[in-house]
Symmetry: C3
Subunit: 286 residues, 3 copies
Amino acid sequence: MTDVHMAHGTTGTIDTATTEQAVDLAGALRAVRDNNPLVQCLTNIVVANFTANVLLSAGASPAMVDNSHEAADFAAIAGGVLINTGTPYPETAKAMLLAAESAATHHNPWVLDPVAAGLPWRTDVARNALAAGDPAIIRGNASEIIALAGSSSGGRGTDSTDPVTAALATAKQLARTYHCAVAISGPVDHITDGERVLTVSNGHEWMTRVTGVGCSLGALMAAFAAVVPNPVDAATAATALLCVAADHAAAESRAPGSFATALVDQLYLVSPEQLAAEADVRALAA
Amino acid sequence: MTDVHMAHGTTGTIDTATTEQAVDLAGALRAVRDNNPLVQCLTNIVVANFTANVLLSAGASPAMVDNSHEAADFAAIAGGVLINTGTPYPETAKAMLLAAESAATHHNPWVLDPVAAGLPWRTDVARNALAAGDPAIIRGNASEIIALAGSSSGGRGTDSTDPVTAALATAKQLARTYHCAVAISGPVDHITDGERVLTVSNGHEWMTRVTGVGCSLGALMAAFAAVVPNPVDAATAATALLCVAADHAAAESRAPGSFATALVDQLYLVSPEQLAAEADVRALAA
Amino acid sequence: MTDVHMAHGTTGTIDTATTEQAVDLAGALRAVRDNNPLVQCLTNIVVANFTANVLLSAGASPAMVDNSHEAADFAAIAGGVLINTGTPYPETAKAMLLAAESAATHHNPWVLDPVAAGLPWRTDVARNALAAGDPAIIRGNASEIIALAGSSSGGRGTDSTDPVTAALATAKQLARTYHCAVAISGPVDHITDGERVLTVSNGHEWMTRVTGVGCSLGALMAAFAAVVPNPVDAATAATALLCVAADHAAAESRAPGSFATALVDQLYLVSPEQLAAEADVRALAA
């Protein structure tokens, strides 16, 4: 496969590069900050706090409404909905299904983050949500995407045991089946709608040393999907924001603890112009 | 309404101002730190960690006993109890009702924080708790206070869509009905027992950019109520402590991530004397 | 009781001291970082995030699989399992029992952290887990160890109301009954297998001012037990790592908020050599 660099270059042709940029990253970030989208998160007990802070710093408004009595009604009014299977329980799994159905019915974009798919029960939870209505975006690591699609070797919790490229064909198929974007997280993130494939090459390995960074990316995708019509564009802009913020945060941190704090700061500090200038977003040739 | 400045002024009459201070803030903070009150929190999965750290830094001792088997017994021995409806589930909602009943029976002060009241199911949870026994303090933003009282426009999750002043009459009525203090959080916090109204004008807008700051205020109120007999005094001292600590934290931070860490530090570092000198607490004329 | 200093001294006989060191701390930490053990945590909503970050910084891989549908299957493949009774609910209590049974059946080491034992319901949860299969390690403060063994005065949540030494005889008895190591946390930590007793004297009082430090120690013990065969050695090495990291963190912090961040950093930064050189581990004479 040949990479075609459609984003910024380092050769000084910034105007041209901006013109050719695959996604309007600056415009997407401005849309989040101007519209402060309400993002309903049905997520896990490990990352709920970090996820809410990531959304607040980026400019969105989190609401963790994840009980079965209220999930559907809230999904009808939320700007975007995240369903994350990190620590599902019978009660919250029921709420996830209801939220997915309601979001789909009300044409509100929802994001599926099938954390640790491959474990049988939660894989069913994730698939039942998919069956309830097409999501805007599915996000996971390579193992999770493969497991969700039914071709899994199991994985080990949230760690991917498969390389990103191994999951790309599966991701394209998933995207076509559910008419959505599928994002595979890894050293280089890949986002596809089944046809085109965009990559984001920013980021730092400490993103895997802080719990909830991947999960908060799913939440950011829901925030961007609330204000950016095309799901691939929304998923790509969310990924670029998190990874560019991580580049900044890593440069001023010494270890994962201080990195986590700096990452939340940088999600607030990175400007739309910085995002557009620094994001390494490319389109893969078909 | 005319403000009557009963706290410190900036005009040099500090001795007089201190004498007239509406609430003995320094004494209240000393009482928390000397007595290390045990605060039972039935709160939400998003803010449980931050809330516990806020209580520990301020000098209290948190205990998140929120299951239905133990909630009542623990409320009988806790110094103060917080009931926060941020992420209620059938099991924890049951525990909340039992804790409220037990706290009331044993004359232990309890605080209701009706997060996102307006959503029908949790509004019932909050009202059932109120029906079980008078709380010492009800705390919320303007929309939550209005929704709890039954005159709501709904709100959007934890964000208030109503100004503080619009909720003041409702807050006074609630306070009279339940014989408690009602605190409305906002740019200027208002605390009332149905007759007098105190305001706290310290704080920083980043308090709305970190999840759990409002929720941790409810927990601090339970800590102060455990050692300060008058609920208005307790709620005002808790509010003043959090807002003065936020003033310090904002001055040394650059964005919400570092602000959150600095806020927890400052809750430990602010002295009773600093609190009394820097808090901008005033009594509104009747 | 007479202390026999078997670890490093301050008298310059470092080679001798190293030779005599009671536990190979450097080797244990290297084993964690080289093998990246998968640690299943069934823990509480307050500390799940901090616990995961502690494990990630130390070099382990957390997986919070705590529902009753998946807990047993995951315990069969995890390197180590933590069962922590901080905020048990009917669903997670059921999962805890299943995980303990499965871990024991598959000879995977599991750690019991009976948080706030003394409250009747969770004490039953902890005892039922013990009855399901011998753990590798039991960890608690003095009050929790005494309460678990049935001789409790109750305690007050997570605060110990008993001194460490008062629990030592009880700890030895528990260790013999369940063929495991028992670790009592306090200003000086004590670890026993019923015969020998090791102490760790590092650490800082701010460890009690940040929620989840004790709980994360239980998780670290599960990580070390996954790669260190002797449970006393594993528990001692985990304690030494956390306490040496806390020494470093306290030296560069000003209050509990910044201390918590620095602690996570230091768990990543402390080298095996530093750990061996700085840990104050001693063997008590029998």
